[in-house]
Symmetry: C2
Subunit: 70 residues, 2 copies
């Protein structure tokens, strides 16, 4: 199967959201800072569960935060 790459704009959205640090945001979502770091750096392919929580706390739709690059 093709090697679609998943992209996200979490980091930008988090900063735009105002003041949230990576660690604070990770805690909100319920993952470790390291996990959030890797997700933001697009080195992970997070589960929909984590993505939904990210979407919730950033108040942005999933479709705006995540997309495929083929």
């Amino acid at each position: 199967m093709k090697d679609f790459t998943v992209r996200n704009k979490i980091k930008i959205a988090r900063i735009e959201k105002g003041g949230l640090t990576q660690g604070e945001f990770a805690k909100l979502v319920g993952v470790t800072r390291q996990t959030m770091n890797l997700i933001e750096a697009q080195k992970y392919n997070p589960t929909i569960r984590v993505c939904l929580l990210i979407s919730k706390y950033l108040e942005r739709p999933l479709d705006e935060l995540f997309w495929i690059e083929d």
Copy 2:
């Protein structure tokens, strides 16, 4: 952390999409039929990558297909 449950309406959307069998759809998306079966049965928490492909082939936004129940 709270135990949010992830829900999805993939099976309904797949059938509404017309004629696609679970196996055919799984192949389209690039996972096995068993994996798609477990995802549809809400026993898995799929990766955003798989969800994006599902969204693409069902022509439905992520936010319409997946949500959290708390």
